[in-house]
């Protein structure tokens, strides 16, 4: 068990090291999401009522669309360099490779959110630095990483991968996006944990289901 966790952490840590050096993924994800936020602040009359109404949707749509860009890049680098095959040569089960790559993607999207969410709070003039936001953000990022890593692996060998990934990813994460938007909406309107409980439960169920199923499917995707 500890050996498996060490392998997963080593893959995630390696992705983080490469990202610190290249800044390919976090800059793309955060930059894209910030652009979406800024465009919407110009497009919508952001009085307090409007901000609470549309803000959560804008935030999570921005992060979801931006996340696709980053997920694509994170896996493409592994395939272009042939290093995915080097990982496959190692005596580790394929699901550990999946979990390691998903951990890396989780870290990228989480770092991007650390940049994006404060900017969102300022632009939309909403109070978001609350424990509820941390829970929503963590649950959503786990789901995005779980689904995104699987579909990035599926689409990376396809010629039109830039088109394929969003077509696969966005419909599948729609329930998770709904949970994130609804629970964020409850939070900015000052409601309690119990009001958002059903949406958080949906997010937890989504995460558990997709981490387990994706880890299983991933090993079949890797084979020729």
């Amino acid at each position: 068990m500890m050996g498996s966790l060490a392998v997963i952490w080593a893959i995630g840590r390696k992705d983080l090291l490469l990202e610190i050096r290249n800044k390919d993924v976090v800059v793309a994800v955060a930059g894209f999401a910030l652009l979406v936020l800024v465009i919407f602040t110009f497009a919508i009359d952001l009085n307090q009522g409007n901000a609470k109404l549309v803000g959560p949707g804008v935030l999570w749509a921005g992060i979801a669309f931006a996340g696709v860009t980053g997920l694509n890049r994170a896996f493409a680098l592994e395939v272009e360099g042939g290093t995915l095959e080097a990982l496959m040569l190692a005596p580790i089960s394929r699901d550990l490779i999946y979990l390691g790559k998903a951990l890396g993607n989780f870290l990228f999207i989480a770092v991007a959110q650390i940049i994006v969410i404060p900017v969102f709070a300022v632009l939309f003039n909403l109070v978001v630095f609350r424990w509820e936001m941390l829970a929503i953000s963590l649950l959503t990022t786990v789901g995005f990483s779980a689904v995104g890593t699987l579909f990035a692996a599926m689409s990376v060998k396809v010629r039109a991968r830039e088109v394929m990934l969003p077509l696969l990813f966005l419909p599948v994460v729609t329930p998770l996006l709904m949970a994130a938007v609804e629970s964020t909406g409850h939070m900015v309107n000052g409601r309690s944990w119990s009001d958002m409980a059903q949406w958080l439960q949906l997010a937890v169920a989504f995460d558990v289901a997709f981490v387990v199923v994706s880890a299983f499917i991933f090993q079949h995707i890797l084979e020729d």
């Binding site: 392998v7 080097a86 005596p91």
Partner: protein, 241 residues
């Protein structure tokens, strides 16, 4: 379980692999004893690299069976991969990590103990210590190939799979590679390699197999004795293209 004292390093029966309409391995059978250096020869497209990828478990066969050291590789994936070390066409390294970082990372993937010591030993073996802290991106293809060789040796595999390992290497490095292969043989371990430098390979090898369109065209356990026959078989596969 992988057996402890098997006679055959590799036993492959009726291997078939197609890529779309193209048949690359067409019912190939081989049996390779432990402790031998086997060289695979043949024209481009004969199936040498595909066979090595299949033995590395990177490419799945369409039909047939393979056992390594007595264990079916389809049922013992991770355990069998721990017994093999592979250097394939591409060095398969992280370009923006240093040589040391690459080797330490892969040592973790192989769950090695005393990682720093193993890295020091294998880098000395292939002569790459002076550039341990250089990023892979800054190194020549030949040097990257040596790093890949170091990675394949780190876990002391019982079976070394080398796909044209001398490509991009200078004469000194080719000589060093020859010594590593000799060490492998003398310690009772097994090497399977492909090459187009036929004469050099025949001096090095205990067995030569000429592949012809995905089948064994010739299998000689005495490459130095059968040199002319092997060269003729190899030439016929090349000229038949």
């Amino acid at each position: 379980m992988v057996s402890q004292a098997p006679q055959l390093a590799v036993k492959a029966e009726a291997l078939v692999k197609n890529f779309g309409e193209t048949a690359v391995l067409r019912g190939l059978d081989i049996e390779l004893p432990t402790g031998e250096v086997t060289v695979l020869l043949g024209a481009n497209g004969a199936g040498k690299s595909t066979l090595l990828r299949v033995l590395s478990m990177l490419t799945q066969i369409d039909s047939g069976s393979i056992s390594m050291f007595g264990a079916d590789i389809a049922k013992n994936g991770p355990a069998t991969r721990a017994l093999t070390g592979s250097v394939l066409h591409s060095p398969m390294l992280y370009a923006d990590m240093t040589v040391r970082e690459n080797l330490m990372f892969f040592a973790e993937m192989y769950r090695l103990q005393n990682i720093a010591e193993r890295v020091a030993e294998t880098t000395a073996q292939v002569g790459i210590e002076p550039r341990l802290d250089h990023r892979v991106r800054t190194l020549s293809h030949g040097f990257q190939k040596r790093v890949a060789l170091a990675r394949s040796l780190m876990h002391n595999p019982e079976l070394l799979l080398l796909d044209e390992p001398e490509s991009g290497l200078d004469n000194l490095s080719v000589a060093r590679l020859g010594r590593i292969i000799d060490d492998y043989r003398s310690s009772g371990r097994t090497v399977i390699m492909t090459t187009h430098i036929v004469e050099h390979a025949l001096e090095l090898a205990d067995r030569a197999i000429v592949l012809n369109y995905g089948k064994v065209g010739l299998n000689s356990a005495f490459p130095s004795r059968d040199k002319d026959e092997i060269l003729a078989a190899y030439s016929s596969t090349v000229t038949a293209q």
